[in-house]
Each structure stands twice: as structure tokens, then as C-alpha cells.
């Protein structure tokens, strides 16, 4: 395992906190009615986002699903523009057209979160295909949940990606739940990685709550994919500390399960690593406090940001106005 510098670990720590606090704000503002729609929180799954994205370059393509906030931030998107999109402002990444479930930051290689489970998988294969044809050294990665394995297009895409040896990394965040239904209730196949083998795709199942384990596994996988070794699949066992969506009463989880959650917390896990490596507790607290101050200021700025002008509601339906039935 490549040893990461203490500085890198501190950066990961900061990133984990940034996602955690971002989700906390989304939860609170949704509860207050300031954020419309159905935001899905990635609280508890931050280590997967940070560990994988640390191995991607800015120009690599990344796709995600409905639970995408952490992925966008880990890919390096601007905190303000991301929050502004989630809250539906003109300064948002997508000018308020996408929202929480459809984040896109093309300049940063984040090509899209899709709100339909498994719909993102073939898009990533297509982006990988374009990169392969251009031979520009880029790869594509896509995050999806264990629930996606129930969709036919998951299997179609694995087959196609393997057949064409596409430079794509499939990252499953196995958080144990497909919406409200546990893995045991929706599949006889316990491990998502088991689906990769019949399609000839090397796969691993790892502890997704330890950012160092995720980082190392992703480093190895990305290296092989980038070297032309075809697709890889990484199943990251993680835990969704939040409900399926903001407001989910989570009656399907036991009290014991909720209590055991803290033990799995990726932030706590990294904090212990850092302390073992000699980081001072006070310094770690400072990092968390700094991120909180950054979030506080960013969220306030986004709340005050201008709302999209209704006059532009027909913008960007088509490239050319001449083919827009409402404008042509």
C-alpha cells in the first residue's frame, strides 16, 4: 500500500467534513422549506467519494446518481456553485435547471447525476468510449448504489463495457439499502462484485468507510483502467447514515442498527488514523471548524443569491432556437 503523506490525510479529513456539513445544511434547509424537491444525502458515505475522486484527474469523466452531492464536491467542483444549484439559484452549476438530482459541472469533468437508478451507467460507458476513441488518456468513473443491480441496464452495460474493453471504473456504494428495502430483501446475490465476474470484469469488495482503503483500491483500479486494461468494478461497503431522502422516517431500521452507525463513521475512522500518525487533536478540530466557517459563509451567500429569471425558462432546451417548437 502506498503511504500517503500526513498532509494528504488532513486534506481528506477536510473533504470528508466538507461533504458531511454540506449534507447537514441541505437537511436543515430542506426541513425549513428553503430547498425544494427531494434531496438525497450521502452522510456516512463520504469516504467512497473522497477516496475514489482523489485518483481522478480534473479532465476524467465522472457520473453519479441521485445521491451525488459528495461526488461533485470530491471531484473538485466549486462549493458555492454546487450549493447554489441544490438550493435552486441562478449562480448554481446548472443555473437552477438541474437541482440536487441533476448536478453537472462539465468544466470539472462531472458530467452528470441522473435521477433514475442505473441510467447513469451506460452514459459513463459512452464517455469512456469517446475517450478511448480519442486516445486522450481520460477514463470515466461512475458511482451507483447496490439497488442499481436490479436494473437490466446494469447488466447490459457491464457486458458492453467488457466487450469493448472500455476505460470505465464502476464504483458501487453498497450502503445496504435500495431506497427503503435492505439488500437481503431485494437480491439473492449478497455481493455486487459477484456480478462482475461473469462479464469478465475484475472486481473487489472493500470497506468503503475507511478512506485509506478506498483510496488504495481505487488507485490500483484507476491505474489498470487508464493503462488500457478494460473496466474494473469496486464495491465499497458503506452505510447510509441518513434516510433515503430528507424527511424519510426510516421505520425500516432498528435502534440497534442506528446505534452501531457511529462505529462505522468514516470521519471518526480517519480521525483515528490521523491521531495514530501523530496529528494533534487540536489541529483536527481546527480543520473541522475551518470547514464549518467556510460552509456557513457559502450557504449564507447562496441563500442570498439571485433566483433564476423566469424569462429564461425556455433557454437551453435545444442548441439552436430554430428547432425549438416554442421559439422557432
Amino acid at each position: 500500500m502506498a503511504t500517503l503523506t500526513l498532509e494528504t490525510l488532513k486534506r481528506f479529513y477536510e473533504q470528508l467534513w466538507r461533504i458531511r456539513l454540506f449534507e447537514g445544511y441541505v437537511q436543515r434547509l430542506t426541513g425549513q422549506g428553503e430547498i425544494p424537491g427531494f434531496p438525497h444525502l450521502s452522510t456516512g458515505q463520504e469516504a467512497v467519494a473522497v477516496g475514489v475522486c482523489a485518483n481522478l484527474s480534473r479532465s476524467d469523466y465522472l457520473f453519479s446518481g441521485h445521491r451525488a452531492h459528495g461526488h461533485v464536491l470530491a471531484k473538485g467542483s466549486d462549493l458555492y456553485a454546487t450549493f447554489a444549484e441544490v438550493i435552486g439559484r441562478q449562480d448554481g452549476l446548472c443555473r437552477g435547471r438541474g437541482g440536487s438530482m441533476h448536478l453537472v459541472d462539465a468544466a470539472n469533468g462531472f458530467l452528470g447525476a441522473t435521477g433514475v437508478v442505473a441510467g447513469n451507467l451506460p452514459l459513463a460507458a459512452g464517455a469512456a468510449f469517446a475517450a478511448m476513441e480519442r486516445g486522450d488518456g481520460r477514463i470515466a468513473a461512475v458511482f451507483f448504489g447496490d439497488g442499481a443491480t436490479g436494473a437490466g441496464v446494469f447488466h447490459e452495460t457491464l457486458n458492453l463495457a467488457s466487450l469493448w474493453q472500455l476505460p470505465v471504473l464502476f464504483v458501487c456504494e453498497n450502503n445496504g439499502y435500495a431506497e427503503f428495502t435492505s439488500r437481503e430483501e431485494h437480491s439473492k446475490v449478497a455481493r455486487v462484485s459477484a456480478f462482475a465476474s461473469p462479464y469478465g470484469i475484475p472486481a473487489r469488495t472493500i470497506d468503503g468507510n475507511d478512506v485509506l482503503i478506498v483510496h488504495e483500491a481505487a488507485r490500483e483500479a484507476v491505474e489498470r483502467v487508464r493503462a488500457g486494461g478494460g473496466p474494473r468494478l469496486l464495491e465499497c461497503m458503506t452505510y447510509r447514515m441518513a434516510g433515503h431522502f430528507v424527511g424519510d422516517a426510516q421505520r425500516y431500521r432498528s435502534k440497534e442498527e442506528m446505534a452501531a452507525m457511529k462505529e462505522k463513521d468514516p470521519i471518526e475512522r480517519l480521525r483515528r488514523h490521523l491521531v495514530d500518525r501523530g496529528a494533534a487533536g487540536s489541529e483536527l478540530e481546527e480543520i473541522a471548524a475551518r470547514v464549518k466557517a467556510e460552509l456557513d459563509a457559502t450557504v449564507e451567500r447562496a441563500r442570498r443569491a439571485p433566483r433564476p429569471d423566469p424569462a429564461g425558462v425556455l433557454d437551453w432546451v435545444y442548441s439552436a432556437d430554430s428547432v425549438h417548437p416554442g421559439r422557432g
Binding site: 453537472v104 452528470g112 451506460p122 452514459l123 460507458a125 469517446a130 476513441e133 447490459e156 452495460t157
Partner: protein, 325 residues
């Protein structure tokens, strides 16, 4: 040297070949396309442009449509073949939720320059799952362009402009047109998207059609001319966007309108055309707008039943006579 006539399939092949030579980002993707395609439209193109750019796929409509969409947002110009429009049902999540909306949802950051070539319509006992006319489903989705050519020469120009457009296009070819032959005029090139065509000039009634139904409409117009009724036939060419201007202009001269389509009448393109004429040309109309379409049933297998269901020149002629009073 006499000019060579080409059938619909041969002309599609020529347009694809020329566009692939013009633009290295154009890729052909689909089931059997490297083998020439189920109807032969891509025959030989793998030899001319290589196996990287002419790609056979597994029978995975959802994945290949997603793959083409993902490749399009990353700079390729895929031409995807969905063998029958009936099979587009398997790709609907992607086409409706991703392909059509990518540009809008991203606030204009990304666009999807791809064409989905597909084949529709009833002929020869293809039966209920290989004969449908589902184009109106796609007309209902903002972000998609829907093109339905009526002849080989039309298909040549419209396919070229579809490939060059920069937005996702559903390009619907009618299987009954595949054997139709035409001479490709010298200098033929891309045709404008969103502009209808007057296929036959007339003064008494405007007959609006698209795809293979344009031929049927022209046949009906010819028959009606013998009874002294002058019919103007309009070929819509593109169903989304719809060229309302050309329709209103024509109806403003003829004061009567009949719309003919092969798709079931309810909720179809004809309903949209009728609604627009009803609101934009109401004062010009001397008779209610008539519609001709398929009765509300799946396409049957037996030739007698298929023929009984499909609207033909007779039904159109009757509708025209009715609006003529």
C-alpha cells in the same frame, strides 16, 4: 450517361458514408450495423470506415442508447440504429430522461449531437410488435427533434442535416419506403430541419401528411384531381419542430384541411396539427378539419386484417370529399 436511381436504403447508406467521410466524429452504433444492418442500410460501411467507427452491439437497446448519449456529450456524433421503433420502448429511460434533457438540466453546459435512426410502420405482416408508428410519443418530449422523411431524396437531405444539427434527433424511416427508388439530383445536400414542403400544389383543400403517408396522400390527390378537386399536399418532413407557418399559409389559401397519418388517430401528430390550425387559422376555415388515421387497435398479422386497419388513399379521398361538402 443516364442518372442512376437509388432506393431508400441505398440513399441512406450514401448519406451515412458521406457524413462519415466529412466528420471523423460520426460513428455508427447498433445491432448488426457492421454486418450491414437488418435492412442493409450500413452494408459495406465497415470496409470504408473501419470497425472502430462502425460498431456491432449486443441486443441491449437501453445500454447502447445510453452509450451513444454518453459519447455524444463527450464530443462524438453517434448515429445509433434502433432496428424497429417498437424496440425504442427498451431505450425510453435514456431517450426521454437523459438524452432529451441533458442540455436543459445542465443549464446549457452539455449538448447531445446524436441521431437515432429507426424504422417504423406497417407492411407485410410484421404484426403488432414490429409495425407501430410511435413517433408522437417523442414529439411530446422537449429536447428531441423528430424527423420523418417521405422519400429517398428527402431522407438523404434530412439525414445529413440531422447528423449536423447538434441536438438529439429521432429519424423515423418507414419500412414501406425502403424499396422506393429515386434519382438523387445533382447538388443535393442537407435540407432544413423544421421546414415543411409543398409536395403538390393545389387550391381547394390542404392535405397534410408525413412519412409514407405522403405517397398515399399524393395518390389520393391524383385521384381527386380527376373529379375536379385540386388538393395541395404538404409533407411535414419534421414532426418536432412542426412548421406551423407553412400549414397556416396553405390553409389560408385553400380554407380546408385534412390530416393523414398511419399512427392511431388519438393523441397523434394530426391532433396537434388540427389544434394549431384550429387556433391559428380558425377564421380561414370553411369546414371542420378532418383527420385520417389508424383505428384504435394494434396492428394485426393476417394480410386481410392489416389491410383492413391501415388507412389508405380511399379513406383520404373520402375525408377530402367530406370537407369539400
Amino acid at each position: 450517361m443516364s442518372a442512376v436511381e437509388l432506393n431508400f436504403i441505398e440513399i441512406i447508406r450514401r448519406a451515412l458514408d458521406e457524413e462519415m467521410s466529412r466528420d471523423a466524429a460520426v460513428y455508427l452504433i447498433g445491432e448488426d450495423v457492421a454486418a450491414g444492418g437488418a435492412f442493409g442500410a450500413t452494408r459495406g460501411l465497415v470496409d470504408r470506415h473501419g470497425p472502430r467507427r462502425v460498431r456491432n452491439t449486443p441486443i441491449s437497446e437501453a445500454a447502447i442508447t445510453g452509450l451513444a448519449t454518453g459519447a455524444a456529450i463527450c464530443g462524438l456524433h453517434p448515429v445509433l440504429e434502433i432496428m424497429f421503433i417498437d424496440f425504442a420502448t427498451l431505450a425510453m429511460d435514456c431517450l426521454v430522461n437523459q438524452t432529451a434533457k441533458y442540455r436543459y438540466m445542465s443549464g446549457g453546459q452539455l449538448s447531445v449531437p446524436m441521431v437515432v435512426r429507426t424504422q417504423a410502420g406497417a407492411a407485410g405482416g410484421a404484426a403488432a410488435q414490429h409495425s407501430q408508428s410511435l413517433e408522437s410519443w417523442f414529439v411530446h418530449v422537449p429536447g428531441l427533434v423528430v424527423v420523418a422523411p417521405s422519400s429517398p431524396v428527402e431522407a438523404y437531405g434530412l439525414l445529413k442535416s440531422s447528423i449536423r444539427l447538434g441536438d438529439p434527433v429521432l429519424f423515423v424511416e418507414h419500412k414501406r419506403l425502403y424499396g422506393m427508388k429515386e434519382e438523387l439530383p445533382e447538388g443535393a445536400g442537407p435540407l432544413p430541419i423544421g421546414k415543411a414542403r409543398v409536395a403538390r400544389s393545389g387550391t381547394d383543400v390542404t392535405l397534410i401528411a408525413y412519412s409514407a403517408m405522403v405517397r398515399t396522400a399524393l395518390e389520393a390527390a391524383e385521384n381527386l384531381a380527376r373529379s375536379g378537386i385540386s388538393v395541395e399536399v404538404i409533407d411535414l418532413r419534421t414532426l418536432s419542430p412542426l412548421d406551423t407557418e407553412t400549414l397556416v399559409q396553405s390553409v389560408s389559401r385553400t380554407h380546408r384541411a385534412v390530416i393523414a397519418q398511419e399512427a392511431v388517430e388519438i393523441g397523434g401528430v394530426g391532433a396537434e396539427v388540427a389544434a394549431r390550425l384550429g387556433s391559428l387559422a380558425f377564421g380561414e376555415l370553411k369546414a371542420p378539419i378532418a383527420r385520417v388515421g389508424c383505428p384504435f387497435a394494434p396492428i394485426p398479422f393476417a394480410p386481410e386484417l392489416e389491410a383492413a386497419l391501415l388507412p389508405g388513399a380511399k379513406q383520404i379521398e373520402q375525408a377530402v370529399r367530406e370537407v369539400m361538402g
